[in-house]
Amino acid sequence: MYQTMMNLPLVRRANWLRTFLNAAWLGWQIESNWADPFLFAVYSIARPIASVLILVVMYSVITNGATDQPIFAYIYLGNALYILVGQVVSGVSWTVISDREQYRTVRQLYTTPLDGYFYLMGRGVARLLVGIISLVITVGFGVLAFQLPISLQTVDWLLFTVTMVLGIISLAALGHVMGSITMMTARQIGSVGDAVAGALYLFSGAIFPLDLLPSVLRPIGLIFPATYWLELARRALLGPGYVGFETFAGFSNSHLLLILLVATLLLLVASIYTYRWAFNRARETGFFDMETNF
């Protein structure tokens, strides 16, 4: 048996797809590792609905329950879509910390010929799936409970699909940048992904139009692809029922889509270079596999 095994062919070159799929499989094993299906349901269904309800209650108190106003759909959808920001941006960067500090598998993983960039990308897929489930449930709840003006017949599915693909890629790229920064630092800065996700909540027009931000702060939102992704996703979902706000009033869908595409590509390229730089820098400083044991 031993001799037979050793006569097998030598290892073949690993590729990015194999790494990506393998990492996605691992990520799903981790994310779905719930001992109790009830807890899984709470996590992926009740939690996002509860969080969006908090916002709905606050909105209702301020506006006397005017859920038929365009701003309500704006806020509700922004908040629902934002679930993906938290899951993907934090998810990718958190992988660096969990592998190094929680599972302590950096040495095992990074002495294999896996593609580090696509490994992180793959690990984020499971959290993306959980996020998508939450998004669908939250939007569905909004349609049923608050009569959000979304109809399957009027949704611009092509625009929605392209927007979501670009948006998710841009979020993953942003998560990579955060993960790369995390790679070079000790654990206490582990919340860098959460911090950026939190900042985006304020500056990307997720819960209020950019028009309401002081003019000096608006450019912060305009440099992030997430801002254009949220705007386009709302337009695609609400279709003719969408009422725009000042900042993007003069921009057509194709114009915004072009900006989203360019911004996503730029962020993607930046994430690749940041990862390479951070990988070398972390090995130079010795932080790459250093367990801080906090």
Binding site: M1, Y2, Q3, T4, M5, M6, L8, P9, L10, V11, R12, R13, A14, N15, R18, T19, N22, W25, L26, Q29, I30, N33, Y103, R104, T105, V106, R107, Q108, L109, Y110, T111, T112, P113, L114, N280, R283, E284, T285, G286, F288, D289
Partner: protein, 343 residues
């Protein structure tokens, strides 16, 4: 250096910069490797012997592409580890002892399958190798157990399989039997010997601070201390260096933890080296003497200090004696790292 080398290391130096507790503090430098030269040939089982902090793991981490050297050259299978990271990783594997790490929610089989896939094995080959190695290592029946439920020994056996599943050209074993019981450690050593015997063209670099393990397994040994290679030869040749000298082990009534006790004994004419360890009810002295007749002087010295002889044994030199004669202290005494302020 020739192309028959599996590992080549030339003037390898690694310095860590450590921040002080306050941000404004100037970084300190910790020299982990001074200037290391090594060559491991294909087919060789090479040992790195040294105390904690000697630089063994740093050497392995550089060779395994986890750490960049500050200066110097490190090659695996002729590939520069700083330039050809991916190609090096395709040829190596690394197993560290005492690993309590791992994705605890995966089963042994799932974990190995995942790593096999990361190594680029197709599904059928991966399954075949996993089954075969699980049987060889004797944990096939436990293949569906979750990693979080495994004992240290079982976890280390699984890690061993991970290390050999890719059929690597060069294997790095960093303290592989650390934390294992006697039986498990013997099985691990047996597997290593068998693998090297079956793969005469491969190379294995082993670090350990278990002398007997190095002595039993390794074709050649480098004694490393304070980031330097102090000696490099076969275990037999290293021990032969001491054969012109007399090596004794003495048990005497307790000397007690007096300051400079070793230095005082070494001041006795004919004494080359001595280590003293306090045991339960007696002191144990390991003596390296220039000649046997120096023993009388040692016994007189001990008598003069009120310490009587309990037992005396003349023995063949061991690697431990070699280590003491070269380094000047026992292996279980940690290295004091050299730190310099500022850069």
């Amino acid at each position: 250096m020739t192309t028959s080398s599996a590992i080549e290391v030339q003037q390898l130096r690694r310095v860590y910069k450590l921040r002080g507790p306050k941000r404004k503090d100037a970084p300190r430098e910790l020299v982990a490797l001074e200037s290391v030269d090594l060559e491991v040939k294909r087919g060789e089982l090479f040992g790195l012997l040294g105390p904690n902090g000697a630089g063994k793991t740093t050497i392995i981490k550089i060779l395994a592409t986890l750490l960049l050297p500050t200066s110097g050259i490190a090659r695996v299978e002729g590939l520069d580890v700083t330039q050809h990271v991916q190609a090096v990783r395709e040829r190596i594997s690394m197993v560290s002892g005492g690993e309590t790490s791992g994705f605890g929610l995966l089963t042994i089989e799932e974990n190995l399958w995942m790593f096999a896939r990361f190594y680029g094995l197709d599904n059928a080959t991966a399954r075949q190798r996993i089954d075969a190695l699980l049987k060889i290592v004797g944990i096939y029946e436990r293949r569906t157990a979750k990693i979080s439920d495994l004992s240290t020994g079982l976890r280390q056996k699984m890690n061993f399989i991970r290390g050999f599943i890719s059929d690597p050209r060069v294997v790095f074993l960093d303290e592989p039997t650390l934390g294992l019981d006697v039986t498990a450690a013997r099985e691990v050593r047996g597997f290593v010997k068998q693998w090297m015997s079956d793969h005469p063209e491969r190379a294995l670099l082993l670090t350990s601070h278990y002398m007997s393990e190095i002595d039993e397994l390794c074709d050649r040994v480098a004694i490393v201390d304070t980031g330097k290679v102090l000696a490099c030869d076969t275990p037999a040749a290293l021990k032969k260096r001491l054969q012109r000298e007399a090596v004794f082990q003495l048990k005497v009534s307790p000397i007690g933890p007096r300051p400079n006790r070793e230095a005082m004994i070494e001041a006795v004419p004919g004494v080359r080296q001595v280590t003293v360890t306090e045991q339960d009810g007696y002191s144990e002295l390991n003596l390296i003497l220039e000649a046997e007749d120096a023993l009388g002087g040692v016994l007189s010295h001990l008598n003069g200090r009120g310490s009587g002889l309990i037992a005396l044994e003349k023995r063949e030199p061991t690697l431990e004696d070699v280590f003491i004669s070269i380094v000047g202290r026992r292996l279980d005494q940690d290295t004091t790292q050299r730190e310099e302020n500022g850069a």
